[in-house]
C-alpha cells in the first residue's frame, strides 16, 4: 500500500507499540504533526521546551522499561534536545529521538532552521540516522527501536527531512532487523562464569558492587537470590539503587563520594569485588589507585568497553547482568559442596560489615530547624516507599539517594552520569504518563527546578499530578558546599537571590502550591499535597547551610571520609 513518509511514521510507531510521544511542533514537523491528528491511540504530550520532551521520554523509559519517544522540529528544536540526549546516553536509557530536517536538497546550504543534528549529537547517541529516502524510513525506524533497547541501551536519533515525510512509497514494515555489524552478547562465557564462581568460593571478604545494569536488565530478583545464597554484602551505585530492597540485611547502601561508611569500608577491606552492571565511575570509586586495594575483581557487563576501562579487571564476563546472575545462581545451587569452607568462614566478614552499618549509620543533626533529610524521610514514610521518585541534581539528589530507602527497581529516576539539573521534573512527567495512577514525586532543588519550570504548563494541560518537593535552601547548595569546604566559604555565584515565589508561580500555571516552613507542617502538608490529584509545587524552606555527609573529597580514596 502506498503511504506518505508521515503516514509510514505513524504506522511504524503503532507497530512498535508506542502509546505516548513527547513532542513540540515546527515547520519541519508539520507533515507528521498533521498525520497524527486522527491518531489519539498515540497519546501526544506537547511540552514547553524540547529539552523537556527528551527528559520526559527518558523518565518514561526509566520508569516503564519501554522505549521513550520524542519528536521535535529542525534547527533550534533539534539543538534543544542535546542535553536530554547526552543525559540518556550517559545512563544507558533507551529512547528514540525523531528530529525533523529541512528538505534533502537544502541540506548543507545553511537553509532556514537547518542544523546538522546528526553531526552535533554523534558523540552522545548510541547511533543515529539521516533518512535520505522515504523508502528507507520504515527500516530505519525498525532499526532505531531495536538498537535503542538491545545490548547496552541508549538514545538513537532519526533525522527526517521534510520531503521524506511528504514523499510517497510502498509501506511494508520489516519483520526482522538484520544488522550484520551489531550483535550484542547476552550470555556470558560459561568458562569465565565458572572461574568467577571458583574465585568467590575462595574469597573471605566478598562484596557485590552493582549498578544500573541490574535495573536495565531486570536482574533484581536474581541479584537478591545470589547475594542471599552466599551471604554476600551488596553495595549499590546511584544508578543501582532499588536493585536490592533498601532495608535488606545484606545491603550496605550506596558507595562513593556520598556513600555510606559501611559501603566504602567494605570495598576498601574486601578481598573480592563482584561488579555487576556497574562501570567504576569516578564518583563511585574515588581515587582509582586506592580502590579496593586488597581485592581481585570480577566484572560482569554487557558493554566490553566498560571492562578494564578505569580499573584492571581479573575476571571479565561480557554479558547481560540477569542472564549471568541466573547462571551463577544455578551453578552455586548445583555445587553446594564447593562452598562448605566458604560458608564456614564468612561469619566474621558479615559481622564486620554489620558493625560498620550499626556504628556509622547515615544521620543528621536534628536541631529544631527544618532539615532536608527529614523531609525526605517523611516522603518515604507517607508513601510507604511506593512512590516513583525523580530527583534533580545537587544536594537534593544525594539526600534522596541516602534517605529514601528505594525498595524496588525503576522507582528512582535520576541523572547519574551527566548530572543534569532540570532533569527531574520533566522525567517525573514522563513517568506519570507511563503510570497515570502512581504517585510520582520530584525531589528538587530551588536552583534545578528553575531550569525546566516551564513544564508546569505541560503537567497542568495533560492532568499529570506530579508532586515537586522543592528543598529550598536558597543556594545552589552542592556547589556552595564545595565552596564551604574547599574555597574558604566564598559563596560566589551560588546564592540564589531573587527566587520566585513558588506558591504564586504554581498558582499562575493553574497548579497547586504549598509552603512548608517548619518541621511540624511537613507531614500534614505533604499528606494533603499527595492526595489533591493535581500537579503540585511544594516549597519547603529548609535549613540553608546544611551539607551532605559523609563525603569523600574529589580525588581522595574511599577510606578518607568526612563523616559530619
Amino acid at each position: 500500500m502506498k503511504k506518505t513518509g508521515a503516514q509510514i511514521f505513524v504506522e511504524a510507531l503503532k507497530i512498535e507499540g508506542v502509546e505516548n510521544i513527547f513532542c513540540y511542533p515546527g515547520g519541519a514537523t508539520l507533515n507528521i504533526t498533521d498525520a497524527l491528528t486522527d491518531h489519539s491511540e498515540i497519546h501526544q504530550i506537547v511540552v514547553r521546551h524540547e529539552q523537556g520532551a527528551v527528559h520526559a521520554s527518558d523518565g518514561y523509559a526509566r520508569a516503564s522499561g519501554k522505549v521513550g519517544v520524542s519528536l521535535v522540529t529542525s534547527g533550534p528544536g533539534a539543538t534543544n534536545t542535546v542535553t536530554g540526549i547526552a543525559t540518556a546516553y550517559m545512563d544507558s536509557i533507551p529512547i528514540v529521538i525523531f528530529t525533523c530536517q529541512v528538505n534533502t536538497m537544502l541540506i548543507g546550504n545553511d537553509a532556514f532552521q537547518e542544523a546538522d543534528i546528526v553531526g552535533i549529537t554523534r558523540p552522545c547517541t548510541k547511533h543515529s540516522y539521516l533518512v535520505k529516502d522515504v523508502k528507507d524510513l520504515a527500516r530505519i525506524i525498525k532499526e532505531a527501536f531495536y538498537i535503542a533497547r538491545s545490548g547496552r541501551p541508549g538514545p538513537v536519533l532519526v533525522d527526517i527531512p521534510k520531503d521524506v515525510s511528504s514523499g510517497i512509497c510502498d509501506f511494508k514494515y520489516p519483520e526482522k532487523v538484520n544488522i550484520r555489524s551489531y550483535q550484542p552478547t547476552y550470555n556470558g562465557h560459561l568458562g569465565q562464569i565458572k572461574k568467577a564462581i571458583k574465585q568467590i568460593a575462595a574469597s573471605k571478604k566478598p562484596v557485590l558492587y552493582t549498578g544500573g545494569g541490574i535495573i536495565t536488565s531486570g536482574a533484581s530478583a536474581e541479584l537478591v537470590k545470589f547475594a542471599e545464597q552466599l551471604s554476600i554484602p551488596v553495595v549499590n551505585t546511584l544508578m543501582g539503587l532499588g536493585g536490592v530492597p533498601g532495608g535488606h540485611k545484606l545491603f550496605l547502601g550506596m558507595l562513593g563520594m556520598h556513600g555510606t561508611y559501611a559501603a566504602n569500608m567494605a570495598i576498601t577491606s574486601s578481598d573480592l569485588i563482584i561488579a555487576i552492571g556497574a562501570r567504576f565511575d569516578d564518583r563511585a570509586t574515588g581515587k582509582v589507585d586506592e580502590f579496593a586495594p586488597h581485592a581481585k575483581i570480577i566484572h560482569v557487563d554487557i558493554d566490553p568497553t566498560s571492562i578494564s576501562k578505569n580499573i584492571k579487571v581479573d575476571i571479565p564476563i561480557v554479558g547481560d547482568s540477569r542472564s549471568v546472575l541466573k547462571k551463577m545462581v544455578e551453578i552455586v545451587e548445583a555445587e553446594k559442596e564447593e562452598f562448605k569452607a566458604y560458608k564456614a568462614s564468612i561469619g566474621p566478614w558479615l559481622n564486620e560489615t554489620e558493625q560498620w552499618k550499626k556504628n556509622f549509620p547515615l544521620t543528621y543533626v536534628r536541631n529544631g530547624t527544618l532539615k532536608p533529610q527529614y523531609v525526605i524521610e517523611k516522603v518515604f514514610e507517607l508513601t510507604d516507599g511506593k512512590a516513583i521518585i525523580a530527583t534533580e541534581v545537587g544536594q537534593n539528589q544525594m539526600w534522596t539517594a541516602q534517605f529514601f530507602k528505594f525498595l524496588k527497581p525503576r522507582t528512582l529516576l535520576t541523572s547519574g552520569g551527566l548530572g543534569t539539573m532540570g532533569f527531574g521534573f520533566p522525567a517525573a512527567i514522563g513517568a506519570q504518563v507511563a503510570f497515570p495512577k502512581s504517585l510520582v514525586v520530584d525531589i528538587a532543588g530551588d536552583g534545578s527546578i528553575q531550569m525546566n519550570i516551564q513544564e508546569l504548563g505541560t503537567a497542568v494541560q495533560f492532568n499529570l499530578p506530579v508532586k515537586v518537593v522543592i528543598l529550598n535552601n536558597g543556594y545552589l547548595g552542592m556547589v556552595r558546599q564545595w565552596q564551604e569546604l574547599f574555597y574558604e566559604k566564598r559563596y560566589t555565584w551560588t546564592c540564589l537571590e531573587c527566587a520566585p515565589d513558588f506558591v504564586k508561580l504554581a498558582d499562575a500555571y493553574g497548579a497547586a502550591g504549598y509552603r512548608i516552613e517548619s518541621e511540624d507542617e511537613v507531614e500534614s502538608v505533604l499528606r494533603e499535597a499527595f492526595h489533591n490529584g493535581r500537579p503540585t509545587l511544594i516549597d519547603v524552606k529548609v535549613n540553608p547551610e546544611e551539607s551532605v555527609y559523609p563525603m569523600v573529597p574529589a580525588g581522595a580514596s574511599l577510606k578518607e571520609m568526612l563523616l559530619v
Binding site: 550484520r180 555489524s181 552478547t185 566490553p304 578494564s308 584492571k312 564476563i317
Partner: protein
C-alpha cells in the same frame, strides 16, 4: 607502542566521521588513516595507525567494535602481516643532482613519474623504515614537497580477514 589496525566498516556516509570522532572524543591518537572500498562494495577498509599503551589500545579496539557501523576490527599486532606505504616526493632536479636522484630512486626501486625542467617527482613504496631511509638520503638534495598515504596492511600467507562476529573478551563460547 605503534599499532596498525584494520577496520571493516559499512560503506555508508557518516561512518568516517564516527570513527574519527571516536578518536578525537576519547583522546586517542591517529597517526594515519587510509580508507577505501573492498572487493565487496558495501564494505570499506580503514587502516588506522595509532599508538598507546596496552590499556589504551584495548580501549581503541573495543570502542571501535562498539560503533554500530563497524563490522570487524583487526589489530595487526596479533597477526603476521605485511604493510606498505606510498610516498610522492617532489625534489629539486638540477644539473649536478639529477644523476644522484636517479641512482637513489633506482636503488630503492622507485619511479620517476613526472619531470619538469627543475624538478623530478618520485614515487616510492615500502614499509616505514625503507621510506624513512630513502627520505633521509634524498633530503640533502632538496625536497620541495612530500605526500604520504599512510600504510595499509594485510595478513601474511593464506589467512584472510573474514566478516565473522566481532571478537569479544569473555564473551560467548565460540566468540
Amino acid at each position: 607502542m605503534r599499532h596498525i589496525i584494520s577496520v571493516l566498516v559499512e560503506n555508508e556516509f557518516g561512518v568516517l566521521s564516527r570513527v574519527a570522532g571516536l578518536f578525537s572524543g576519547r583522546g586517542f591518537n591517529i597517526e594515519s588513516l587510509c580508507v577505501a572500498e573492498t572487493l565487496d562494495p558495501t564494505i570499506s577498509t580503514m587502516t588506522i595507525v595509532t599508538s598507546g599503551n596496552e590499556a589504551i589500545i584495548e580501549q581503541v579496539l573495543k570502542q571501535l567494535n562498539k560503533l554500530i557501523n563497524v563490522i570487524k576490527v583487526v589489530d595487526f599486532k596479533e597477526l603476521d602481516y605485511v604493510s606498505r606505504e606510498m610516498v610522492l616526493v617532489k625534489v629539486n632536479a638540477e644539473e649536478r643532482t639529477r644523476a644522484e636522484i636517479l641512482r637513489m630512486t633506482e636503488i630503492f626501486r622507485g619511479k620517476i613519474i613526472d619531470v619538469s625542467p627543475k624538478t623530478y617527482t618520485l614515487l616510492i613504496t615500502g614499509d616505514d623504515e625503507k621510506l624513512r631511509a630513502f627520505l633521509t638520503l634524498i633530503k640533502p638534495l632538496g625536497i620541495k614537497e612530500l605526500v604520504r598515504t599512510g600504510p595499509i596492511a594485510i595478513a601474511r600467507g593464506e589467512k584472510v580477514i573474514k566478516l565473522k562476529d566481532k571478537p569479544l573478551e569473555g564473551g560467548e563460547e565460540d566468540g
